[in-house]
């Protein structure tokens, strides 16, 4: 299982804060593959997740777009920050 978390405006587009995805026996998946799974499942995210402004974290560390997600990882989809 991979835990996926959505924040701020993505939470609204997804309609949920958190969702688990089953890799169906695979031990890992590329971020691009995971994004495809998510967009198929939650079409409201399609535009936002293909844009360039969303950062992605794996286990609460920033991840490059070619990163690989392993089973049990936590993946965060992070819109542009506006703290401070």
């Amino acid at each position: 299982m991979i835990t996926v978390r959505f924040f701020a405006m993505l939470k609204g587009l997804a309609g949920i804060e958190m969702k688990e995805y089953d890799l169906g026996g695979m031990k890992e998946i590329k971020l691009s593959g995971l994004k495809e799974m998510i967009v198929k499942d939650l079409p409201g995210l399609s535009e936002a997740l293909t844009g360039r402004s969303i950062l992605i974290s794996i286990n609460q560390e920033f991840a490059g777009k070619d990163a690989v997600v392993k089973d049990n990882d936590e993946v965060g989809f992070l819109p542009p920050f506006s703290g401070g």
């Binding site: 924040f7 609460q60 920033f62 965060g76 819109p79 920050f81 506006s82 703290g83």
Partner: protein, 142 residues
């Protein structure tokens, strides 16, 4: 130490307490520079009536702790405290405080400016503004 000097919390915070916390670390401190960010009533021509902040629990705290560690390593400062509020915040209320203690003032000014810029860049915290036209997640920081 890090627990009290770097915090994300719902409750209002005391500026004086945070300054005391960084100041009490050494008698060699000659300067404390603080940045306090507050909720403005206007942004990009829009009247703001309320604010709400959301964070990525765990990751946001870790990023703030990391900013403090890097500041202590890279600037000639003695201590740094960072507090950020989440949840609903009224106009005029405090949102974020960075307090930097050093022997000489230049170092504290530089580290404080760097830290607030870095905070905005790397900390997963999001602001939602309530305007007369509805609620909007703010997606770019000045």
């Amino acid at each position: 130490m890090t627990n009290t000097l770097v915090r994300i919390q719902k409750e209002p915070f005391s500026v004086e307490e945070t300054i005391e916390a960084v100041k009490s670390v050494s008698k060699g401190i000659g300067a404390v520079v603080t940045f306090l960010g507050c909720g403005r009533d206007f942004s990009k021509g829009q009247k703001i009536t309320g604010l709400e902040f959301e964070h990525y629990p765990g990751m946001a705290e870790a990023k703030l702790a990391d900013i403090r560690s890097r500041a202590l390593a890279d600037f000639d400062i003695i201590e740094m405290g960072i507090v950020h509020r989440i949840g609903e915040i009224a106009i005029g209320e405090e949102i974020v405080l960075i307090a930097v203690a050093s022997a000489h003032r230049n170092d504290a000014f530089m580290a404080c400016e760097w830290a607030i810029t870095e905070l905005k860049r790397v900390t997963p915290i999001w602001k939602r503004e309530t305007t007369t036209k509805g609620e909007v997640w703010v997606s770019d920081t000045p």
